[in-house]
Symmetry: C2
Subunit: 175 residues, 2 copies
Amino acid sequence: MKTRAATEYALLGVLRGGARHGYEIRHYIEVHLGSTWYVSTSQLYALLKRLEGLGWLQSCVEIQQTRPSKRIFSLTPQGRKAFDAWVLSPAKHVRDLRVEFLAKLFFIKNLRLEGGGALVESQVAVLNSLKEKQVDMQKRVQDGFQKLVLDARIANIECWIVWLRKKANKFVSVK
Amino acid sequence: MKTRAATEYALLGVLRGGARHGYEIRHYIEVHLGSTWYVSTSQLYALLKRLEGLGWLQSCVEIQQTRPSKRIFSLTPQGRKAFDAWVLSPAKHVRDLRVEFLAKLFFIKNLRLEGGGALVESQVAVLNSLKEKQVDMQKRVQDGFQKLVLDARIANIECWIVWLRKKANKFVSVK
DNA sequence: GGATTCATGTAAGAGGTTACATGATTAT
DNA sequence: ATAATCATGTAACCTCTTACATGAATCC
């Protein structure tokens, strides 16, 4: 199963909580994930089409008298499977923590999924191994700039590890 | 003067140290900025063309007997001006620190430019004001997830501020 | 004889962005 | 009256990526 862009999984996540049409999805994201995520309408409709093509979503049209017709999307079993695998897997890169990982925490909490604590732990483990690599490199590297870059990365990773242990853990464990 | 993508300024930065052709630029980036930046060849040649169109670069062809011809690029006064403005301006967003800001530090050091200390200070100031905004928001916000997101951002910003004061400062001040 | 270096690109696609288009309904 | 809400999209563009193309020269 090929990995897709995070935005697509976020859409699956919204639909994991129940069938919705495009406009509703947009509204939901704006209200709940607005601090992390932004999806433009044009991208939203394009992604929904793409995800339906992948077989992760299905849709039907609901005709209304007073309003434009709505196309209502819902998860297929494959879509659900893809989302569940994504939401419980740690980010591979530090840069993905700010948005993608936080969104995962949101969905876990919001959908009351199991495994939040384990996700935080495995994310910490990923970061620890990333940190080790950078520390090793820093020992071998001579160039001052490279040392600086590695130093910044290590500091950042450490900061995230502390935060994950202290805050993320609490967030997913409190019911 | 419209702001361009960071990669374009990085190319200007490489040429700020002397005229070079595409292949040389690639090599230079790989060796010196490899830990931060990657530019694919296809993008490189496209960007050089674009920057020449903007009037920031000029080029001439050097014909060789034993090797393919080289197109040698050099900065125009406008290009130099654009680069110098970029390299001394702090990043507006935290996400730009990891790559763009570090590259600025590299160029300042490598080209022995004045103003590195001031840049670090103004970057700290930008981060402090960003942090204040997030702290204010955190007070007003009710939603648990939004609080968490803001908390992560604040922690990250604080981490960068400490690092900038401790490490970046030294890097640019040591000759 | 085979890999690497030198040197330039094109083509196709991924994953976005902003701006534009439409048109009725409901709230102020 | 006019602004916001409901609801769907298209078109054009931007930045960057991967894969492909070419072809001589030199190193091992």
